[in-house]
Structure formats: C-alpha cells, structure tokens
C-alpha cells in the first residue's frame, strides 16, 4: 500500500492518493485523526512487525510499500476531538510518535523525517542559502532581525529585475512549470538537484532567483512539493517499488482487527 502522511486539507496529498487508487494501487491518506484510533503498534526493535492506521483502517506495516510525508508537524488546531487543555500535549506526543515511526519504518519513506520536520530537513531560507554556498553555488542574501526577515531583493535599491523560478525535485529528476527543463533551464535544474542531493531530500521544492548573465541564486527550499502537474505526480509514483498485485489492490480493504493472528 502507498501512504501519504498529510494534513486532511492537503489537496496535493489527496490528489496523489486518488491518482494511485485510479491506477489500481492500494493507497491511503494518513492524517492525525488516524493517530487517535486503536490499531497502532510499534515495537522499535521490530518495526516491520507493527501495525498502523491509515484512513481509519488498521493494517500491518508489512503491507506498506512506501510512505510520502507531506506533514511537517502536528499542530493542536488539528485535534478538535481532544480536550482543549490537552491539545498541545497530544500534538507534541503525536509528532514524537510519527518521528520515531517514520524513522524506523523498513519501507521506502520520502522524505525521511528529521527531529524538526516530519517531511525532511527543518531548515529556514538562511540555512538553505548557506548550504548553497557550501556546495559552491550562490544564494540570495537574507537579513533577519527585529524587523523580521528580508532579502536583498526587497531593498529599494535592489538590482534589476531577477525572476523567481520554482523547481520541483523528485529524486534525480527536476521539473520547472510541470515540465522537464529545457536546455536553457538546465542550469536551474542542476542547482536544485545539487541542493536536494546535499540535503538528502528526495522531494524538494526549490525557489531560485535568476537574472540575465548570472548564475541562479538559491532563495529558499522546502519539502512541500507541487504535485499537481502530471509529470511531477508520475515521477513521485515512479519512486515506489513495482507492485505485482497492483491490479487487485483497488479492492476495498478488510479492516484488520486481529492483525497479530494474520499469517
């Protein structure tokens, strides 16, 4: 089964799940509501023998072919069924659980979580810019202070018109405006791919600044990919191992209530 961990309102996550289901794959959306349901069992020493709850259904971890994480953190506002005074605590507990579970999972997990972000590197724009420089690329200067964050492009005397371009990285593939990069755009793709590689992020949304006669500058990056373009969604699906039973997987799943007795 393919699983997307996301907010229930994440339209991109819902679109991925619906797309995969239409292709005949078993796929489900795991939201924080699933963490308030009986059925989770995680033994850190034997993660493959555990069970999870996806879309309200309990299933064995061994049934998971892979997980895409689009949830950065669990926020109290998403837990209206928890007593208000306990929401902050429950949110922290759920975040802590997901961090351990996603880290321990024996199947494909993209992106693997970090302690600060369940969907990959927990870096702000400044850290991405530094990473770019460390890797021999350029980044846009950022000024942070008691008047908030600003970049050199916000300055009144900022140099001329540079365009901002978004690049979606899916492992070793890059997409600009939903398409494979043209020869002209290849330098942008190369920068985004190098940044993602250096960060160990298989899925990365990269924002670059580009201007005439100069190399692209990294503005920021983050794990929240635009998965609506057809080719990007296809590329994400291609990351999963091929399932020989995909054509059967669209059948409704039985609710597994006594999973420990299953073969």
């Amino acid at each position: 089964m393919r699983v997307v961990v996301a907010h229930s309102s994440d339209a991109g996550a819902v679109a991925l799940v619906e797309r995969w289901q239409a292709e005949g794959h078993a796929a489900g959306l795991l939201t924080v509501a699933d963490l308030s349901a009986p059925g989770w069992v995680h033994d850190p020493e034997r993660p493959a023998l555990g069970s999870a709850v996806v879309g309200g259904r309990a299933l064995r971890v061994s049934e998971l072919s892979g997980v895409v994480t689009r949830l950065m953190t669990v926020v109290p506002l998403e837990l209206p069924w928890i007593h208000e005074e306990d929401r902050e605590y429950a949110a922290q507990e759920m975040h802590a659980f997901l961090l351990a579970w996603l880290t321990d999972l024996p199947c494909l997990v993209i992106n693997r979580p970090t302690p600060g972000c369940l969907a990959g590197p927990a870096w702000g724009p400044e850290e991405w810019v530094r990473r770019a420089f460390d890797a021999g690329m350029l980044g846009r200067e950022i000024v942070r202070g008691s008047r908030g964050i600003a970049s050199s492009a916000d300055a009144p005397d900022a140099a001329p018109a540079r365009a901002t371009v978004a690049v979606e990285v899916v492992r070793e593939r890059a997409f600009i405006a939903g398409k494979a990069p043209s020869a002209l755009d290849q330098p942008l793709a190369d920068v985004a791919l190098a940044l993602a590689r250096g960060a160990g992020a298989e899925l990365l949304h990269v924002e670059l600044e580009t201007g005439p006669d100069e190399a692209p500058r990294v503005v920021s990056a983050g794990p929240w990919l635009d998965v609506f373009p057809e080719r990007v969604a296809c590329a994400v699906g291609d990351l999963f191992p091929v399932s020989p039973r995909a054509q059967n997987a669209a059948q409704p799943m039985a609710r597994v209530t006594h999973w420990e007795n299953a073969p």
């Binding site: 963490l35 009986p38 069992v41 033994d43 507990e93 302690p115 942070r144």
Partner: protein
C-alpha cells in the same frame, strides 16, 4: 567574548556566569526579560554577520567566540505574555529570538548547544534508537494506541513504566492498578510503555571531552520529582567505568551536543541502560560542591571557542 542567552536567574546560567566572573572572562548576558529593549540584525549570505544591542550595549556577533544558550519561549516573558504573542511586542520578541537562533545555527562560534541539536530529545523513542546505535541498552518499549496490546505488554513484563513520548509532561511513573484500569484511553493518542529496569541511577554530564558522574539514590520512579513526592533523594560522586564514559562522550558527539546530561541505570547484572540524553541539562541540581560541571563548561567555552562546534 562569551554570550549567555536566557534568564540570568536560571540556575545553570547563573552558575556559568558566576564562574566566568571569577575568571574575569569576557562574558555578556543577553537577558530575555529585556527583549523589548533588544534589537538584532543578522545578515546571511556566504558568511553570517550581524549585531545585537540592548541597554546601551551593541555586540558585533563576529566577536562572539562561544555562546551558552538556555532560551525560554520568547512570548512567555512577562512583558510579552501580558500583551499576547500576536501583539507588536510579541512579534518583536519572536523576531529577536529567531535572529539569535538562526545565527547560532550558522555561526562557527562554539555553541552550547545549537537548538537543532537539542531537537532529538523532543521524541524519546527517536532518541532511544540513536542511543541504541551508540552501544547502550535501552528499555524494551511499546508504542501503541491499542488497549489490548498495551495490556498484553503489561502482563508480559509485570512492572511497566509509562513515559511521555515527547518532552512535554515528562514525568516517568510506574504503571499502577489505577492506571491499568485506564489503559483503554491509549486509543486516543500513541502511548509509550517500557519494561521497568531495576538498578541504580547515574547521571553523567558530558562537557566536551570531559565528564562528571554522580550516583542518585532515590526510591522515586522519577528522581527529578522525588522531593515533590516526599521521596528520598541523595546524590554521591560516582566513578564511571571508562568504557561507559567513552560511550557517553561518543553519544553526545553523535547527537551534536557539546554538553549533555546522560541518564543511565546500572542493572544488577552490570549492564548499562541509557534512558535519555538531556541536551540542555539543569546541571546545577547535580553539581559537585567544588562546581566541577560549571568549571568544565567554562573551560570548554574559553578553550574551544570559534570553529570548535
């Protein structure tokens, strides 16, 4: 220059400050309570540079060679909480905090500790896996929302500890008959149960390449709250076996921590079990009469300084 960031009456900050004063060290206290009179600007490009100013003092952050960070929620400071986090004062407090935080992440000064390195402690089971990989035993653990599995774990192991997964409400307690009756509640949120490990507790403070260990004698499940529970608590110096000390140092380094409080228990069989690593230890609770922990920390910050982290 050494920068201290937090509250001056926070005991670890106060201890380090006093020790630095004894040594006539060049240290500055950036008091979070003065946040509304504090300004900061940090510039990030190939290098990081900037300044912070308060009370007529302006510090070039490039002059800061080491920093000891124990910041609190910037919006919890009285002058800010009074007007709320969404007020201009609240936004200012967060902006100053963020400027210092991001500077500390990217500066090559000796930072004790970077806040990103502290994050592993926000998930006890995540950190436990890192501890296990460092060669320590960790307690047998179950994370579950399944009441039946929780009950089966309790019946299998007899004495079981309940412990939060995150760093919130982190009071460890042994599961009693009353809590056992309420195991159905685990369905609401993942819950962590651990097999009780018998033995005696040792707290090891790792400070760079040095360590200070003490044995804790207490009859409380969580000795940190022994006095609150009317339980016995005594601390005594402890000579940690060298191989165990080396594992503690390696573990702290692996977690990216220049200073760490490692919670160990030695079982009757002589096995060292590690419960967790505190990335911002309240070390004054465990301090030796001659202040060895604070001394080691000051030595670390005055000797390693820039580029050592």
């Amino acid at each position: 220059m050494i920068l201290l960031f937090g509250l001056p009456d926070d005991p670890p900050i106060a201890a380090v400050r006093a020790r630095l004063a004894q040594q006539r060290g060049n240290a500055l206290m950036l008091d979070q309570r003065d946040v509304l009179a504090t300004s900061a600007e940090v510039r990030f490009e190939r290098d990081v540079s900037g300044w912070v100013s308060w009370g007529g003092v302006r510090v070039d952050l490039n002059e800061v060679e080491a920093a000891y960070l124990r910041p609190y929620d910037p919006t919890a400071v009285e002058s800010v909480s009074r007007v709320g986090r969404d007020s201009p004062e609240g936004r200012h407090a967060v902006e100053v905090y963020e400027a210092i935080r991001v500077w500390s992440e990217l500066s090559d000064a000796c930072i004790v500790n970077r806040l990103s390195a502290m994050a592993s402690n926000g998930s006890k089971p995540y950190q436990a896996e890192l501890i296990r990989r460092a060669g320590f035993a960790v307690p047998t653990t179950l994370l579950t929302t399944d009441p039946e599995r929780a009950l089966a774990f309790v019946e299998e192991h007899g004495q079981v500890i309940y412990k939060s997964l995150s760093g919130v409400r982190s009071i460890v307690s042994r599961l009693n008959a009353d809590m056992r009756q309420r195991l159905s509640l685990v369905a609401n949120c993942p819950t962590q149960l651990q097999r009780y490990v018998p033995g005696f507790d040792v707290r090891v403070h790792v400070i760079g390449d040095e360590h200070v260990a003490c044995r804790i004698v207490s009859d409380a499940d969580d000795y940190r709250y022994a006095s609150r529970q009317g339980r016995r608590l005594e601390l005594e110096p402890f000579a940690l076996p060298l191989d165990c000390a080396e594992r503690c140092r390696a573990l702290a380094a692996e977690l990216g921590l220049l200073m760490a409080g490692v919670d160990l228990r030695c079982t009757p069989e002589g096995e060292w079990v590690c419960f967790e690593v505190n990335p911002s230890p309240g070390f004054t609770f465990f301090e030796t009469p001659d202040g060895r922990i604070a001394s080691s920390l000051v030595r670390l910050m005055t000797s390693k300084r820039r580029g050592a982290a």
